[in-house]
């Protein structure tokens, strides 16, 4: 019979232990049972604050429950362990008793709430679980003022959450500065200024004496005689305490100030019981970060399996994070407490940057560092620190902005093989390099085979640098050149064309390419030229560049006939226009179908019929729908507030306005949009490149959704916008995408490849971090100002009309286009049908 292994606690570390157990084959020897107090499987607590963006707990989930059941691992949720009986080797829950041979305690920690009178008020909260967040969200609905007690890392994260919820937010800190553990006083000052600039009020050196009913708000925090602050809700984030109650009552050895004592193999004072994660105390230290917890989980699993005898060796607590958009980094001895340590500072108050290096007396070793406002040097410094490397002659060069343009960072070549690159998954340089040598030549490959950079993501740049360096060593050139005619990416070509104001393909290939071009670079350049200068695409110099679809302004079908898709902005159409569509279809015997994009597609038009069909449509007020182009397609709408009993705003009106604004815009791939009138989301805006949903306070803007072959939910870029701001953001977003995406890359894939992801995109679009916003808006205004309906222009131009014949030397039609009837309409004949029909004719 298998031995029984019980894991208590299914947090991040408990789950990681189970994963390691599976990898090491422990499931062969042990029947594993996991007892969890929380109502859901392990989730990414590190990213907890992201829950406010989507309110979807599933997004944070870490567990593939199929694998658990495949390995016969029992996971019992909502099942807190109430006691451990070491004599009987049993754990007790409210309902059951479980036997164990090996017990793993992964009970984590709980938020510390100082014992101030009044803290039990139902308007006081903590910030640790999804349930905590739900409670805060519910309370915030009826609140104006929120206070966070604690100005540490988690406190500031909680403060950010409160501002997102629209509360007037205060942070109350006992110490004289923010983040007193990680950064020095000067850094703390700057951080405070930056955070106050974001409208969060910071109160330092405040000791809350009690919480009483207030006058203007329900709660009043009293600090001293007549010092107080009133609030609607309070979040305590004053540190964590190890969850060691179970261990204590069953007599395991604890530390003086709590924490379950473990040895280097994570065993407690009872060798059959292990403790890992935030509940464990190693050499009198608790590690409040996930990476050391993961290491403990791995070490405990390895110890049990007997494969390896690795020891836990402590962990580095350096951190780099972004707090409310402020970059903060702290490495090693940030306060410079080591005797005789030397300090080097760099400060730029105007840009809000502060950096400090702490070095050994001789200036040769880095002992610590603080970075505020700019953390680009972080990974470089961290490696110098972790590997105890000798600093350059003038270490100040490491943090000074490089005026000479020379890069002060040490190259990845200098890193020793043992350098730990990814601390989340404990991957060192040698492992990465050998992965590259074995064929992992992209970041995705590296992630798959080493797990590096799949945790917090902090190491991504370094991992990439190492990969690139190793590839170079191997003599492998990684190129993302467009094709054999251009040694540039689409983005680079875009810049060349824009900056040098190139207007034709001939100019572009003469100056930057070679050969004649091909079916990859020609349409790409044509699309860039159109995005930049918005010329009529059938001009002689552009004509040969277009895909057949663009060349004939219609989608080519399998038999060489074309489809006709007139624009129906927002899907709104008058009866008269519907009748015209019907008449055209009847007159030219076209197959009609309602599309998924809220308009009508007419199929089976022969190339020589296209001008006459479009003549009728244009006369009736239709414009081209660009169904053939890599361009803005449709803006779907729902019924909206005009008719719908739930609608909170006029989705149809906005959809029409948006479609008319962006129609004709050419882009790296097609662009689809939608506007819904309320959260019921009947227009499916969250599956579009740009989605807009009405809220009580304006419009929420979603971006980078996709239907199609790889569906992706859109991300919320900004909420409660007024229409003007909404349009401005969409202008910037679209132009930024056009500028930087690869060819045939939808916004969804583009965002996934974009370094820095959604946060970066927000910075560029909303905070204008690149200073591009005005330019992007001007470029868009230029496109909008030069719009023309390509079909209208074409039918008025006899020269262009010449191409719409099947034969250059005959009026005959293509006899290979043959239709048969089905459900009262035409459809292309199959090859067999064609053969039969022609034998009949003979």
């Amino acid at each position: 019979m298998k031995k029984r292994l019980i894991v208590v606690g299914h947090g991040m570390v408990g789950h990681h232990f189970v994963c390691q157990a599976i990898t090491l084959g422990l499931t062969e020897q042990y029947q594993i049972t996991v007892l969890s107090a929380e109502p859901r499987p392990a989730y990414d607590r590190v990213q907890l604050t992201r829950y406010f963006d989507t309110l979807n707990a599933q997004d944070l989930n870490l567990v593939d429950t199929d694998i658990y059941s495949e390995k016969n691992i029992q996971l019992l949720l909502n099942t807190p362990v109430t006691a451990i009986d070491r004599e009987q080797k049993q754990v007790h829950t409210e309902q059951d008793i479980f036997d164990f041979d090996i017990l793993i305690l992964a009970t984590g920690s709980y938020p510390f709430v100082p014992n101030v009178p009044g803290h039990q008020d139902p308007r006081c909260f903590v910030y640790r679980t999804i349930e905590d967040l739900d409670a805060i969200i519910a309370a915030a609905k009826t609140s104006q003022v929120g206070v966070v007690v604690g100005g540490g890392l988690l406190g500031l994260e909680a403060a950010k959450a409160l501002t997102t919820l629209g509360l007037n937010t205060h942070v109350v800190e006992f110490a004289p500065q923010l983040m007193a553990v990680q950064i020095d006083a000067q850094g703390g000052d700057l951080l405070r200024k930056k955070i106050e600039a974001l409208n969060v009020k910071v109160h330092t050196q405040k000791n809350t004496q009690c919480i009483e009913p207030g006058i203007e708000h329900p709660l009043r925090m009293k600090f001293g005689e007549d010092q107080f602050l009133e609030a609607d809700l309070i979040v305590f984030s004053a540190g964590i305490r190890p969850q060691d109650q179970l261990a204590k009552t069953c007599g395991l050895t604890l530390g003086e100030r709590g924490g379950i004592r473990i040895n280097d193999y994570c065993q407690t004072s009872d060798p059959t019981i292990y403790a890992i994660g935030e509940c464990a105390l190693w050499q009198n230290r608790i590690f409040g970060l996930v990476a050391p917890g993961y290491q403990m989980a791995t070490i405990a699993a390895q110890h049990l399996s007997g494969v390896e005898n690795k020891k836990f060796e402590g962990a580095d607590m350096s951190t780099k994070l972004k707090l409310m958009g402020v970059d903060v980094g702290s490495i090693g001895d940030a306060h410079g407490r080591a005797p005789d340590s030397q300090h080097i500072f760099y400060q730029n108050p105007q840009k809000g940057i502060y950096k400090k290096l702490v070095t050994s007396v001789d200036g040769k070793q880095l002992l610590g560092a603080v970075l505020i406002g700019d953390t680009t040097d972080y990974s470089n410094l961290l490696q110098l620190y972790l590997n105890n490397m000798t600093l350059p002659e003038e270490p100040e060069g490491l943090i000074l902005p490089s005026l000479s343009g020379k890069n002060n960072a040490l190259g990845v070549a200098a890193l020793p093989d043992t350098a730990q690159i990814c601390s989340c998954y404990n991957v060192n340089k040698a492992t990465l390099c050998s992965a590259v040598r074995e064929g992992a030549h992209s970041l995705t490959d590296i992630k798959n085979c080493t797990s590096a950079s799949t945790g917090c993501g902090g190491c991504t740049q370094l991992v990439k640098d190492i990969m690139q360096h190793e590839l170079k060593q191997l003599g492998i050139t990684v190129n993302n050149h467009l094709c054999s005619h251009f040694s540039y990416t689409r983005q680079e070509l875009y810049h060349l064309i824009r900056v040098e104001e190139l207007k034709t393909f001939d100019q572009v290939i003469a100056q930057h390419g070679r050969g004649l071009g091909c079916d990859i670079c020609k349409p790409t350049v044509a699309s860039i030229l159109a995005s930049c200068w918005n010329d009529y695409i059938l001009k002689t110099e552009h004509a040969g560049l277009q895909d057949s679809n663009d060349y004939f302004l219609g989608n080519i079908q399998k038999d060489g006939s074309y489809s006709v898709v007139p624009r129906v902005p927002g899907g709104e159409i008058t009866p008269d226009k519907l009748i015209v569509l019907g008449e055209v279809a009847k007159q030219f015997n076209l197959y009609t179908k309602i599309t998924g994009g809220q308009r009508v597609d007419l199929f089976g038009a022969r190339v020589e019929q296209l001008p006459a069909i479009w003549r009728m449509l244009v006369d009736a007020g239709f414009e081209t729908g660009h169904a053939y182009g890599k361009a803005v397609r449709t803006v779907k709408s729902c019924v909206g507030s005009t008719w719908c009993r739930y609608g909170v705003d006029d989705s149809v009106g906005l959809a029409i306005e948006v479609e008319n604004r962006y129609k004709g815009l050419r882009s790296p791939h097609k662009i689809k949009m939608a506007v819904s009138g309320c959260t019921r989301e009947c227009a499916e805006a969250q599956s579009k490149d740009v989605g807009v949903i009405a809220t009580e306070h304006g419009w929420n803007l979603y971006v980078c959704g996709n239907g199609g072959m790889r569906p992706r939910h859109a991300d919320l870029l900004a909420s409660d916008l007024d229409k003007e701001t909404l349009i401005r953001y969409v202008d910037r977003f679209l132009m930024f995408y056009i500028r930087t995406a690869d060819r045939l890359q939808r916004t969804s894939v583009w965002l996934e490849k974009l370094e820095g992801g959604l946060d970066y995109l927000r910075k560029v679009i909303i905070d204008d971090s690149l200073g591009l916003a005005a330019q992007l808006e001007t470029e868009m205004a230029n496109i909008i100002g030069t719009y023309q309906c390509e079909w209208k222009t074409t039918i008025e131009d006899p020269i262009r009309l010449k191409r719409f014949t099947h034969f250059v030397n005959s009026k005959r039609s293509d006899d290979n286009i043959v239709f048969v009837q089905e459900r009262q309409q035409i459809r292309p004949a199959t090859q067999t049908e064609k053969a039969q029909l022609s034998s009949l004719e003979v």
Partner: protein
């Protein structure tokens, strides 16, 4: 020799389809006025569409890409680059005083 069309009827870097004794011929014009002629019938899609493909060069051969599924055909020999078993008929073209003859 049959007259097909004027050279100016073909926009540089594009093709047209010409009728030649009941056969459909795709006639292509490069920017340097080199002219090529192949079958217009695309054996992959079984449609008469090759004259509407994009012109270019690949591996030092001048080619046209089918507008349906992008297979490439050598303009001189008619050889398909993706499938060595497939080769279109190519035709000799003559240009005289701005007119195209086959």
């Amino acid at each position: 020799m049959q007259y097909l069309c004027q050279l100016d009827d073909i926009v540089p870097n594009t093709g047209v389809c010409a009728l030649y004794k009941d056969k459909q011929i795709a006639v292509f014009r490069l920017a340097d006025n080199r002219i090529f002629a192949l079958d217009n019938y695309d054996p992959f899609s079984q449609a008469n569409v090759l004259s509407r493909g994009i012109l270019g060069d690949l591996d030092n051969q001048v080619v046209v890409a089918s507008p349906i599924h992008k297979q490439h055909f050598n303009l001189e020999s008619g050889q398909c680059l993706e499938d060595e078993k497939i080769k279109l008929t190519s035709y000799a073209v003559i240009i005289k005083e701005g007119a195209v003859y086959l």
